[in-house]
C-alpha cells in the first residue's frame, strides 16, 4: 500500500502509519538489499526523463503549490537530475546511487552484510520535510530507504506535492518498497501529531537553527537525529575572470545559479565577491550580472514572492540607495517596479542581509586573504554551503583550500552550483552514514 494519507493527518493516523512501516520494514529487510538498491536506482533513472510520469506530475502540480514558475521547476529538476550542469556530469542517476553506496559504505556487500557488519538503517525514519525545493525532498526520502529504513515523511506547507509523487513512483516501481514510504501532513502546531511523528527511531529535520534546536530537544538518544540546518552559498570571482569577454560568460552562469529556485536553495549564491583592487572591475561585474539577470528573467521567470520577502527586498534596496545618496560607492541595478531581480554593488566586503528572490550583492575585496576574512563569520557559525570560484588562475588551489577550511562543503564553477553530486556532503557529513547506528557509522 502506498500511504498517501488525507490532507490533515491525526495523531492516531500517524501512529498507525508508523506501525505499518515497522511491519513493512521487516519484509524489506528480509529480501536482498540488491533488490531495493536496484529499485531505487531505477527510480532515479526514471526521474531523469523529463517526460516520465513523475516529472510530468511535478510539472503540473509544483508551480501552483510552491510558487515557482514552470520554467524554473523544469530547469531546476533537469539541472540537478540530468547532471547537465554538474561538475562531474553524472547528475542523480542510478549509477550515481550505486557509486554513493560504494563510496560511503564499501558497496553492496556492506548492505548485505557479506564479510563485514551489515549496514542497516533505523527500524523507521521520520523525515520532517522543509521548504519548496523538490530535490532535497527526494534525497531525504531515498537515503534511509537505501539502508532499508522505512520512511514516514511529513510534507512542508510549501510543497505538499513532491513526497507524494515519490511515493507514487515507488509504489509503481516496487510495491514492497512502496509500502515503506508513508506521507503525512499536519500543522506544526499539532503537538499530538508531532509527538507521534517524532517517536520514530530516527528523525531527519531540515530548517533554521531554531527549528532544528526545537526538534533536537524532543529527539533524545537512543533515537537518532539527522539535522540539516539552513545554509548560504556565495561566489568569488578572481582577477582573471573579471577582465575581458569572459566576464560576461561568468555572469551568465552566475545569473543561472541565482535564478534556479529563485535563489531560495542553500546552493543559491546570495553574494559575489570580486577579488581585485580595481574598483572599475567591480562595477563592471555588477553591471554584467544585472544584464545577465534581466536576460535570464525572460527564459526563467521568477515565481511568486510573499509580501514579507518583497518588503525585505524593497527595504534592502532602499537602504542601498541611501548609502549611495550619502556619497558612498554603492550602485543599485534593478529592483524597481516590474523588475524581478536586483543587484547592489557594495563598497565594502562586509556581509549584509540577503532578502533572496534574486537579490544579489557584489562586494569588492582586494585579495584572497581578505576574501577569507569576509566569509569567516559564515564559516564560524557553520552556515557556509557552497562557494562558486572562477578566475584565480594558479592561485585557485590555495583559495579553494582556504574556503574549505572555513567550512564550505562544496566548491564549483559558476553555473553548476545547483547541481551537486549525489554524494555531496551537505553538512560535512555523508548522505548514508548518518543513518547507521553510531558504532557502525564511525567505522564506515
Amino acid at each position: 500500500m502506498t500511504g498517501v494519507a488525507s490532507n490533515r493527518t491525526s495523531a492516531g493516523e500517524v501512529r498507525g502509519a508508523l506501525a505499518r512501516l515497522r511491519a513493512a520494514g521487516a519484509a524489506l529487510r528480509a529480501r536482498p538489499a540488491s533488490a531495493t538498491l536496484d529499485s531505487l536506482a531505477r527510480l532515479l533513472d526514471t526521474w531523469r526523463d523529463p517526460e516520465s510520469k513523475a516529472r510530468r506530475s511535478l510539472d503540473s502540480a509544483l508551480p501552483e503549490a510552491t510558487g515557482f514558475t514552470l520554467e524554473v521547476v523544469r530547469a531546476g529538476l533537469s539541472h540537478a537530475l540530468d547532471g547537465t550542469g554538474g561538475s562531474d556530469g553524472s547528475g542523480w542517476s542510478g549509477a550515481a546511487l550505486r557509486a554513493l553506496v560504494t563510496h560511503e559504505l564499501g558497496g553492496l556487500d556492506a548492505l548485505e552484510g557479506r564479510g563485514m557488519p551489515r549496514a542497516l538503517g533505523p527500524e523507521v525514519t521520520s523525515v520532517l520535510l522543509a521548504g519548496a525545493l523538490p530535490t532535497p525532498t527526494l534525497q531525504s526520502i531515498l537515503a534511509p530507504l537505501v539502508l532499508r529504513s522505512p520512511v514516514l515523511a511529513r510534507t512542508s506547507s510549501s510543497d505538499p506535492v513532491t513526497a507524494r509523487v515519490v511515493a507514487a513512483s515507488l509504489a509503481e516501481a516496487d510495491p514492497l518498497l512502496g509500502n515503506c514510504l508513508e506521507v503525512v501532513s499536519f500543522p506544526t502546531g499539532d503537538g499530538a501529531a508531532m509527538d507521534a511523528f517524532l517517536a520514530a527511531d530516527c528523525v531527519v529535520a531540515t530548517g533554521s537553527d531554531e527549528t532544528v534546536a526545537r526538534v533536537a530537544e524532543r529527539v533524545r538518544p537512543p533515537r537518532q537525529l539527522v539535522a540539516h540546518g539552513h545554509r548560504v552559498s556565495v561566489a568569488a570571482i578572481g582577477p582573471e575572470a573579471l577582465r575581458g569577454p569572459g566576464r560576461a560568460d561568468v555572469c551568465n552562469r552566475l545569473a543561472f545559479d541565482v535564478a534556479l529556485w529563485d535563489q531560495l536553495g542553500c546552493l543559491s549564491p546570495v553574494s559575489v565577491w570580486a577579488v581585485t583592487t580595481e574598483s572599475g572591475l567591480v562595477d563592471r561585474l555588477a553591471e554584467d550580472l544585472a544584464r545577465a539577470l534581466a536576460e535570464t528573467q525572460t527564459r526563467l521567470p521568477r515565481g511568486r514572492v510573499p509580501i514579507e520577502a518583497a518588503a525585505a527586498r524593497a527595504r534592502e534596496r532602499a537602504e542601498a540607495e541611501m548609502r549611495a545618496a550619502d556619497g558612498r560607492h554603492v550602485l543599485v541595478y534593478g529592483g524597481g517596479a516590474g523588475d524581478a531581480w536586483c543587484v547592489v554593488r557594495e563598497d565594502d566586503a562586509a556581509i549584509r542581509p540577503a532578502p533572496l528572490h534574486r537579490f544579489v550583492r557584489v562586494h569588492p575585496v582586494p585579495d584572497s586573504d581578505a576574501l577569507a576574512d569576509a566569509l569567516r563569520p559564515l564559516g564560524t557559525r557553520s552556515h557556509l554551503a557552497a562557494v562558486a570560484l572562477e578566475g584565480f588562475g594558479p592561485d585557485a588551489t590555495r583559495v579553494e583550500a582556504g574556503l574549505l577550511a572555513l567550512g564550505a562543503s562544496r566548491t564549483c564553477r559558476p553555473g553548476s552550483m545547483q547541481s551537486p553530486p549525489l554524494d555531496w556532503r551537505r553538512d560535512g557529513r555523508g548522505v548514508l552514514t548518518p543513518f547507521l547506528a553510531p558504532a557502525r557509522a564511525s567505522g564506515a
Binding site: T66, G67, A130, G131, A132, L133, P136, S156, S157, S158, T206, G207, S208, D209, H228, H230, R231, V232, S233, W261, D262, Q263, L264, G265, C266, S268, V270, V305, P306, I307, E308, A310, A311, A312, R313, A314, R315, A318, E319, E321, M322, R323, A324, A325, D326, G327, A337, I351, R352, P353, A354, P355, L356, P377, L378, R381, H383
Partner: protein
C-alpha cells in the same frame, strides 16, 4: 527651498500649535493642514539634508514636483544606522537617541536640535490613548492641589524601563521621564517610579508600590517594554503571586521580543497580565513607536472601548500602507509596508519607511510584524537571521 518658504522656527511653531490644541477639534482631521505643513517641511529637509535630497532626486521627486504629501519619499528606517539624517548643523544637536542593540551592532540614531516637539507629541498621545478620561488635563490649567489627610487615590505610574539618567540615549526612557514629570506636575498621578535598574527589574520595589496602590485603592498605570513585563510575570509566577490591581488600572507595553531568549505572542502576554495582575486585555494598550520617530501610535482599546483594536496616531502623524512591489498605496484591507509621515520629525526627515507590515482598519491600522508566519520556502538562510540585526524597537 524657495525664499518665500517658512523658516524652521515657523515650521516648528506650526506643528507645536497643532500639538497643543485641545483634542477632538475639527483641526484633527484637517488633511489640508497636514498636507501644507508636510510639503513645507519636505522642502526644508530636501534643502538641508543632502543625502535625503539625493535619495529623492534618484526617485525623480523634488519639492516642486509633488502634488501631495503622499508623494514624499520615505527613508528606510535602517538608513538611520548608516548615516546622520540631520536637517540642521551638527553643532546644534541637543540630543541623540539610539536604537537598541549590542556593542557590536550598528545602532540607529535620531539627532535632535530641540526636544520641544518630541515632548509635546508624547504627552498628548499618551493621555488620549492611555488615560483618555483625563484628557481634560491637556487644557491649559494650573496644577491640581495635592490631596491631604485622606487616601491618595490618584493613579500610580510605574515604569518597567530604566530611568532617563541611566539610559540617556534611550527615547523610551526619555518618553517615560517626560510623562512622569508632566503628569506629576499637573497633579494627575502620584507615586511615579522607574522599576528597572542595572538591567534588572526591581521586583520587590515594584511589588511594594503595587501594594501601596492596593491599600489606597488607587489605579495603577503600568508601562514598559514587553520583555520587562515578561520578567515581572515570571517573577510573580515563581513567587506564586497573583494580584488584582484596583479598578481603573491599565497596562501600556511596547517593543517586541526579537533576539530574546523567549518569545510570547501578544495575546499570551495579555493573558498572563490578566492572570497575574488582574488587568484584562481590553485595558492593555500596545504602543507602536520607533526611535526614529517623534510620535507614537497606540491601541484604541481605552479611547474607544468596545470597538476593534487598532493603532491610532495623533493628527500630525499619518501612515501610508505601501506595496513593496510598486511603491503605491495598497487597496483598503490589503497588507502593505508601514510608512510613517511624522510632522514632529522637523529636525531629521518626516517620512520613514518602517520594516513592518500592516493593514488598515477604519481610520487606524494593525501591525502585522515583519514576518506574518509564513514558512520559509527554501533552505537558504536569509542572512539577516544570522546577522541578528536589531533595527526594530527601542531601548
Amino acid at each position: 527651498m524657495s525664499a518665500a518658504g517658512p523658516t524652521r522656527a515657523m515650521l516648528d511653531a506650526a506643528v507645536l500649535e497643532w500639538m497643543r490644541e485641545p483634542p477632538g477639534t475639527a483641526s484633527d482631521a484637517d488633511d489640508a493642514r497636514f498636507d501644507r505643513i508636510a510639503r513645507d517641511l519636505f522642502a526644508w529637509q530636501f534643502e538641508r539634508c543632502v543625502p535625503y535630497a539625493r535619495f529623492c532626486e534618484r526617485r525623480g521627486v523634488t519639492p516642486d514636483a509633488i502634488g501631495s504629501w503622499r508623494e514624499i519619499p520615505a527613508v528606510p528606517a535602517g538608513a538611520f544606522k548608516e548615516l546622520a539624517l540631520r536637517s540642521f548643523p551638527e553643532r546644534a544637536t541637543v540630543k541623540t537617541f539610539r536604537t537598541s542593540g549590542t556593542a557590536a551592532e550598528r545602532r540607529g540614531e535620531l539627532h535632535l536640535d530641540t526636544l520641544a516637539l518630541y515632548e509635546a507629541s508624547v504627552l498628548r498621545s499618551f493621555v488620549l490613548h492611555v488615560l483618555p478620561e483625563l484628557a481634560g488635563i491637556l487644557e491649559p490649567a494650573p496644577p491640581a492641589p495635592s490631596p491631604a489627610g485622606r487616601p491618595d487615590r490618584r493613579p500610580r505610574l510605574r515604569i518597567l524601563a530604566p530611568s532617563a539618567e541611566e539610559a540617556p540615549d534611550s527615547s523610551l526612557s526619555h518618553m517615560f521621564a517626560v510623562l512622569a514629570r508632566e503628569l506629576a506636575w499637573r497633579g494627575t498621578l502620584s507615586d511615579c517610579g522607574f522599576d528597572v535598574s542595572g538591567g534588572e527589574v526591581r521586583v520587590d520595589e515594584l511589588l511594594r508600590a503595587l501594594e501601596r496602590a492596593l491599600a489606597d485603592a488607587a489605579p495603577v498605570v503600568l508601562c514598559g517594554t514587553a520583555f520587562a513585563f515578561m520578567h515581572v510575570l515570571d517573577a510573580l509566577a515563581s513567587r506564586d503571586v497573583r494580584l488584582a490591581l484596583p479598578p481603573g488600572s491599565r497596562v501600556m507595553e511596547t517593543g517586541g521580543f526579537k533576539g530574546r531568549s523567549r518569545e510570547l505572542t501578544r495575546d499570551a502576554l495579555y493573558g498572563e497580565i490578566e492572570r497575574r495582575l488582574g488587568v484584562p486585555p481590553e485595558r492593555c494598550v500596545n504602543q507602536y513607536g520607533m526611535t526614529e520617530l517623534a510620535s507614537q501610535f497606540h491601541d484604541s482599546v481605552l479611547r474607544f472601548p468596545g470597538t476593534r483594536r487598532r493603532k491610532l496616531g495623533p493628527p500630525w502623524a499619518r501612515v501610508r500602507l505601501v506595496s513593496p512591489e510598486t511603491g503605491e498605496d495598497v487597496a483598503p484591507g490589503e497588507v502593505g509596508m508601514i510608512a510613517v509621515y511624522d510632522l514632529g520629525n522637523t529636525g531629521s526627515v518626516l517620512a520613514v519607511q518602517t520594516a513592518d507590515l500592516g493593514r488598515a482598519i477604519g481610520e487606524g491600522f494593525e501591525v502585522l510584524g515583519r514576518e506574518a508566519g509564513a514558512e520559509a520556502r527554501g533552505c537558504s538562510l536569509a542572512l539577516d537571521e544570522m546577522l541578528a540585526s536589531s533595527s526594530e524597537g527601542r531601548p
